[in-house]
């Protein structure tokens, strides 16, 4: 089977840039008209990400809102992340976990991780996302599986956002009870990726890019992909991310695919953002994604402000986090006051998030999964 990396080669950066620059206002109108009759093609998606489409943002938003209501209604799922280790061997230039950063590190034991997770469950969350740094000898796949087995009975779903695994390891994690995996490619630009990841196992672009495929083959029910917006030119990574989700949907039709839309946040370090994504561009991205992938979940993390998150929900966001801490520990075990992976912007608690969603006419959904294989 053709891999996504092979498929992506049909869309070199130059082709993407030229197509986006060539798109006209009439092209955008034609794509929006087509939406009533057909699924959109990758070419159509690129038109919706183009500068020409920026002038049609309200029309795109109306379409995206209509599609979101039709396929997801006014229900928004809530989850929370749990960092169980920030020990990391990578030197990603944009990340607070960078191995070179001198900061206190913490790796929770299985018991400590379970205590943290149970505190989260006691707070009312039913969907949890486990995160670790990239340190396979410390946060081994077996360790992650042990944590999952311990906490699974208290949660409707357990997701992982950890370093790339082999297919065999993904299978073990699925058997331990993992329902979903999220893998941020960070950037789909291989040259930029190499520069951003000067050392550590994450340097292997191809291995990371194919991680969702391996997870799907291993039986993972839900896959999430995303680029860290701000690393490369907007239309480049936005397009590649949507294309990745689209390709996964077509090749693994039994798997639910979602897209995360993180913009780079301040962190411990001195990375300079050269391709900052504006609020309008983020809104354009969400509306374009919804039009291109009507049934895909769209996740918006607490990197975004409460104001932005509240306003992105009607445009297509279907999943949000709440009660977020990017530091390890602190909920039930000792907090070392480490700075976390990045600074979050939306500090709302679960109760606040639920109240705010309800105030905007949306239903906060705490349980939206019952593992039929458990």
């Amino acid at each position: 089977m053709e891999t996504f990396q092979e498929f992506l080669q049909n869309w070199p950066a130059g082709r993407r840039s030229e197509a986006a620059a060539r798109a006209t206002s009439a092209d955008v109108t034609a794509v929006l008209d087509k939406l009533a009759r057909h699924w959109l093609s990758p070419e159509d998606f690129l038109v919706l990400l183009s500068p020409a489409a920026a002038e049609h943002l309200e029309a795109m938003a109306q379409k995206a809102h209509e599609l979101t209501l039709r396929y997801f209604g006014r229900a928004v799922s809530i989850f929370t992340p749990l960092y169980i280790s920030d020990v990391c061997t990578n030197q990603c230039r944009y990340c607070g976990f960078n191995a070179k950063n001198k900061q206190p590190r913490r790796h929770l034991s299985v018991n400590e991780a379970a205590a943290e997770a149970f505190a989260i469950a006691d707070a009312g969350f039913q969907h949890i996302l486990l995160l670790t740094g990239d340190a396979p000898k410390v946060s081994s796949p077996e360790y992650i599986a042990d944590v999952v087995r311990r906490i699974k009975p208290r949660f409707a779903s357990v997701g992982i956002e950890v370093y790339s695994q082999t297919e065999e390891n993904y299978r073990m994690l699925v058997e331990a009870g993992v329902d979903s995996m999220t893998m941020f490619q960070e950037t789909y630009n291989p040259e930029l990726y190499a520069w951003l990841h000067p050392a550590g196992p994450k340097r292997d672009y191809a291995f990371r890019l194919a991680a969702p495929e391996r997870a799907a083959r291993a039986g993972m029910r839900s896959l999430g992909v995303g680029a860290l917006l701000g690393l490369d030119a907007f239309e480049q990574d936005a397009f590649a991310t949507g294309l990745h989700a689209w390709w996964l949907q077509r090749h693994f039709p039994g798997v639910e695919v979602s897209v995360s839309i993180p913009r780079i946040c301040p962190h411990e370090g001195e990375f300079e953002v050269t391709h900052g994504v504006t609020d309008r561009e983020l809104a354009q991205y969400v509306t374009a994604l919804r039009c291109f992938l009507p049934r895909a979940g769209i996740t918006c993390s607490s990197r975004e402000s409460a104001f932005m998150r509240d306003h992105l929900v009607p445009l297509g966001v279907t999943r949000v986090s709440a009660g977020v801490s990017t530091a390890v520990g602190g909920r039930a075990t000792e907090d070392l006051h480490n700075p976390g992976q990045f600074e979050i912007t939306d500090h709302r608690s679960l109760e606040q998030m639920m109240a705010d969603l309800a105030a905007h006419g949306y239903q906060p959904v705490l349980k939206d999964w019952e593992d039929p294989a458990a």
Partner: protein
């Protein structure tokens, strides 16, 4: 309508509109929607049910018959497990089988559906399988013990109406169990059309939940389903083909017949 009950699995229903619980901005709307629609059957996804918690279940009027569904199941075995969970959670013995392994189009897997139907019907469940309107799959479900079949009018959530009209008409003509049109109905007129065709009932969720005024739309669907049923019972007048000329309602030569 009082003298025209629908009987499924030995249960008598006076309303032929089934409603859903998904996609509302607030589950607290459900009682008013149920009341306005007149529906007696309501479907709820087991993936949303929180054992021991109020959740969506706390908003379902007690007089309504629960039709838990197996949303999220990709295989017959998973559907069976969710049905067992539904029964253990006190949701009763009715179950809507959903076996879907295509998340892009959400089309049901007929083979898995028929297999789950056979297992669960054998265990005493009242099974209502959600299917493509395929005569062979429908017959397999009937042979497996389905109490009714639920063919889609259009893909779930699309509000596109009776795109599968001809296939549903064949199921109505060929099968002796209730045909409940499920998925795709976007307007009361489309539900009415399904009922005029002879469907036994319609299940509507998205069209109500995503409308501007769900309660008002629920009332409209209740009226449309009742009207369509009445029209089916009354039997439509003959339709003359083009070129056959008009026929006066009071022919002058009638005395010669």
């Amino acid at each position: 309508m009082r003298d025209d009950p629908l009987v499924i699995g030995g249960v008598t229903l006076n309303s032929r509109l089934f409603i859903g619980t998904g996609k509302y901005g607030d589950d607290a709307l459900i009682p008013a929607v149920a009341d306005a629609s007149g529906a007696e059957v309501i479907t709820v996804a087991m993936r949303r049910v929180e054992p021991g918690q109020k959740g969506v279940m706390g908003h379902i009027p007690p007089h309504m018959r629960l039709l838990p569904n197996t949303s999220g199941a990709r295989t017959a075995e998973e559907a069976v497990r969710l049905a067992h969970l539904a029964r253990a959670a006190g949701c009763g013995d009715w179950i809507k089988i959903e076996v879907i392994s295509d998340t892009r189009h959400l089309l049901p897997d007929g083979y898995g559906t028929a297999k789950a139907t056979e297992i669960l019907a054998g265990e005493g469940f009242t099974v209502l399988p959600y299917i493509n309107p395929d005569l062979y799959v429908a017959r397999a479900c009937v042979d497996a013990g389905a109490a009714a079949v639920m063919p889609l009018g259009a893909p779930i959530g699309t509000n596109r109406g009776l795109q599968t009209r001809e296939m549903i008409a064949i199921l109505i003509e060929e099968l002796d169990i209730p045909i409940v049109v499920d998925a795709g109905i976007g307007l009361p007129s489309q539900a009415c059309e399904a009922m005029e065709m002879g469907a036994a009932a319609c299940l509507v969720n998205t069209a109500i939940a995503s409308s501007g005024e769900p309660v008002r739309m629920a009332r409209a669907f209740g009226a449309a389903v009742a009207a369509g049923r009445d029209a089916w019972l009354a039997g439509p007048g003959a339709v003359k083909k083009r070129g056959e000329g008009a026929e006066a309602s009071s022919p002058l030569t009638g005395f010669l017949r």
